[in-house]
C-alpha cells in the first residue's frame, strides 16, 4: 500500500478581529480548490472553517486553524485561547448562544455555528477547558479518493 498523500498548514486567527473574519477560510478554500478536491467537499470544509473562524474571532483571545489533507479526508483542527465551553452538550443545541451584540450585527451569534459544523462534517470532536480554551477536530471524508477528481463525485 502506498503512503497516503498529506498536506498540512496552520493559520493564526486573531480574536476580536471582526473585519478580517473569514480570511483564513477563504485561503483554505483556495488551497483545496487548487488541489483539485471536489467542489462539494471544498464547500463543506469552507463552511466548517468559516464557522470555526467566526467562533474564534467572537469568543477567544486568539487561535489557530490547521488544515490537514490526506487521500481519504480533509481534517480541520482548531485550537483557541478563550473562555472555554462549560457545557458542550448545551452549546451544541441549535439556538443556544452567548454571543455579544457585535457578533449578532455580523449576522452570526444565533446558536447555529456548532450545529452547522456538525452538519457539514462527518466527525466532530470538541474538548474544552473553562478558562483555558477549546479544541475542535472535524473530518470531512470523501470516497474513494478526494485527490483523484477524475473519479466520479460521491454524494454523501
Amino acid at each position: 500500500m502506498r503512503e497516503s498523500q498529506k498536506f498540512e498548514k496552520s493559520f493564526d486567527v486573531q480574536g476580536g478581529s471582526f473585519q478580517n473574519a473569514g480570511n483564513v477560510s477563504g485561503q483554505i478554500k483556495s488551497i483545496l480548490k487548487e488541489m483539485g478536491v471536489s467542489t462539494d467537499i471544498v464547500r463543506r470544509v469552507a463552511i466548517i472553517c468559516y464557522e470555526s473562524e467566526i467562533n474564534i474571532v467572537s469568543y477567544a483571545k486568539k487561535g489557530t486553524i490547521t488544515l490537514i489533507v490526506t487521500d481519504e479526508a480533509v481534517k480541520i483542527e482548531t485550537k483557541d485561547e478563550g473562555p472555554g465551553i462549560p457545557d458542550i452538550e448545551l452549546a451544541m443545541k441549535e439556538g443556544y448562544s452567548t454571543a455579544t451584540a457585535a457578533v449578532r450585527e455580523m449576522g452570526f451569534g444565533a446558536g447555529m455555528g456548532l450545529a452547522n459544523m456538525k452538519k457539514y462534517s462527518d466527525h466532530l470532536i470538541i474538548t474544552s477547558e473553562v478558562g483555558i480554551g477549546t479544541c475542535v477536530t472535524m473530518v470531512v471524508m470523501d470516497f474513494p479518493k478526494i485527490l483523484h477528481p477524475d473519479l466520479p463525485p460521491v454524494t454523501l
Binding site: G26, A46, G107, M112
Partner: protein, 121 residues
C-alpha cells in the same frame, strides 16, 4: 434569467460586478442570519439580505453565491465593496423590502434554492 433581468425587475443599482450581469440565475435564498445562509443556501443562487457588512461577502464566497442583493435600500460599507471587488462577487441594491424583492423574483420564475428544510445537505 440573467442578473441583468434581476436588476431590471428590482430596479436595482449595481454596486459591484457590472461586468457580470450576463450571469444566469435560477434560484435564491433570503436571510439576515449568515449562519442560516451557511446552513441552507445552495451554490449558484442569489443571496437576498438586509445585512451590509463584509461577512455577507465572505459568506457568499464560501458558498459560491452568484450575487448579493441588498434589500430595503441598504448600501454596503466601503470594506464590503472592497472585498466584493476582490472576490468578484456582484452586489446589487434595491429599494424593495425583502418580502417584495422575493415576491417579484418568484413571480418571474426564480425559485427558492430549497423549498423547505429537513434532511437535505
Amino acid at each position: 434569467m440573467t442578473l441583468k433581468d434581476v436588476q431590471d425587475i428590482l430596479e436595482a443599482e449595481v454596486l459591484v460586478g457590472s461586468d457580470q450581469l450576463q450571469k444566469p440565475v435560477k434560484t435564491a435564498f433570503a436571510a439576515d442570519l449568515m449562519s442560516d445562509v451557511l446552513a441552507f443556501a445552495k451554490p449558484d443562487s442569489l443571496l437576498l439580505t438586509g445585512l451590509t457588512n463584509p461577512q455577507v461577502v465572505r459568506t457568499a464566497d464560501i458558498l459560491d453565491i452568484t450575487a448579493i442583493i441588498m434589500v430595503r435600500g441598504k448600501k454596503p460599507s466601503e470594506e464590503t465593496v472592497k472585498l466584493a471587488e476582490e472576490l468578484k462577487i456582484p452586489i446589487l441594491s434595491t429599494r424593495y423590502i425583502l418580502f417584495e424583492t422575493s415576491g417579484r423574483l418568484h413571480a418571474k420564475g426564480i425559485t427558492g434554492c430549497i423549498e423547505k428544510v429537513g434532511g437535505e445537505i
